[in-house]
Symmetry: C2
Subunit: 292 residues, 2 copies
């Protein structure tokens, strides 16, 4: 990596000036959008990007429109120096760190909404969240016009909403989902895990275990009755509360594309399903999901 | 124009395949989005496009998402054969006529909203209209990625909303507004004018005259009291009803950029203002506007 050199740009104009020659030379460009506070999950995104394209651009922008007024925008973890070290170590070519007015020009009103699939699960518990996500990601994709953009499966509903938006708007970019990176005890990596106390950290993997229990239950019930899913979910919610979680926003089985509710394997009729969960543990709101 | 040859494409893929070589060769591309039923106003757009770019693409798509359930989507005027004759005569290079599923893929949910400037005037009287407009125009701009796109000032609020959207989303396109083309008696050209009976057609220019009366009133009042605008507008509304209009949706003076209400010249503080009106005349809903 000794030849790697990390350029940093702050404006759309400079971003395009940097990417233009690479594109003109026929080099594929991969974009990894982040909010900083980088961890091994981001490293997996960047390595996958490196494998897919000779030029990797990482964006770092803590997007205010995806935070509700009571959420942790002001306290969102920042680790700019360590972030840069990781980007240099991974041979990232370009870091795009736009100012607020570069992403939301004065007088900005435009919002991208995803009715239906953006209103359930995370969208139900964080109203406006996916409008903020879809809006900022569309801007980043239009600004950088990469060949491929990578997002973690950890935020699975976000990933699928971005896939849908890209299809609907004819954005000329491939969306690549990268599997969730986990601690050895199963906890999904998240920038917000730093909010956990030692005790909470010990309890945190129960969310992942609950998702796996639901998956096993559904698989065992496949072809049989399978009607006990609601009771099963209630038991898992109770288990999380017993394990120390403050509250459970949802544990739910959904169609992977539309996020319609799934009651059993048969109702999926062969389409991919996903089990998703979100729960509060002390100051951290944890989310996780696994394929059915 | 004997060398002109009008190509017709129906898919995003074919559109991009056609435009790509022109762009690679450094030729500027102008896009003129239309809903067909072309008239002299469209011809003015195309001629302005021709003057700005060596390659002109016209799109023809009657966009269902900008029509409310009770509106005239099914009855919207169509004149495909005459439309093509005009495009050939004007030396247009490419006609893009996408199918519905090309613009709104199966399962489509993505919508672009413009809160505030999209909710007043036309947006108030046609709920959802500007969401439909912003959504379809963003798709066309992303699909064709022209250097310049042209829109008529006749739909002034639409023009300004598109300018705002392009700025907010960092779309790399120049938006060019083209002055309204009028009949000799002042009626703004519109595809919907064909709905007018002879009697209604004779009454129709009263809308333009009302806008000019309000402008003259405001200019005369500049620096003086000027407080009589509301009464003046009421008189003009009454005048339109007397002239045979069925109802008046609005006659209003606005800031040209934000569409905030303007009460007198001083409140604009030098910013451009616009006088806009919309009124029903028989089966036709007429809109018009002039600069202040």
């Amino acid at each position: 990596m000794s030849e790697s050199k990390l350029h940093i740009t702050q404006t759309v104009e400079a971003l395009r000036a940097h990417l233009g020659p690479w594109r003109d030379a026929g080099e594929r460009i991969a974009l990894v959008p982040t909010m900083g506070a980088l961890h091994e999950g981001h490293r997996a995104l960047i390595r996958r990007a490196r494998a897919m394209a000779p030029r990797v651009c990482v964006s770092l922008f803590v997007n205010p429109t995806q935070f509700a007024a009571h959420e942790d925008l002001g306290a969102y973890p920042r680790s700019e120096s360590q972030d840069r070290d990781m980007l240099v170590a991974e041979g990232v070519d370009l870091l795009y760190v736009p100012e607020l007015l570069e992403m939301y020009p004065e007088g900005d009103v435009t919002r991208i909404t995803m009715p239906g699939m953006g209103d359930c699960l995370e969208g139900e518990h964080r109203p406006g969240f996916f409008t903020g996500v879809a809006t900022v990601v569309s801007k980043l994709l239009i600004q950088a016009t990469p060949h491929v953009a990578l997002f973690g499966e950890k935020d699975f509903q976000q990933l699928q909403i971005i896939r849908r938006m890209v299809l609907d708007l004819s954005l000329p970019v491939e969306i690549e989902g990268v599997p969730t990176v986990r601690e050895v005890d199963g906890l999904a990596l998240s920038s917000r895990n730093v909010y956990l106390t030692d005790e909470e950290r010990a309890a945190a993997p129960a969310l992942y275990r609950a998702l796996k229990s639901i998956r096993d239950h559904l698989r065992d019930a496949d072809g049989h009755d399978g009607g006990a899913l609601p009771e099963m979910v209630v038991r898992e919610v109770d288990g999380l509360i017993s394990a120390g979680f403050t509250s459970v926003d949802y544990l739910s089985v959904r169609d992977s594309a539309t996020f319609a509710r799934v009651d059993d394997m048969m109702s999926l009729a062969g389409r991919p399903g996903r089990i998703l969960g979100a729960a509060q543990l002390g100051k951290a709101r944890l989310i996780d999901n696994i394929p059915l």
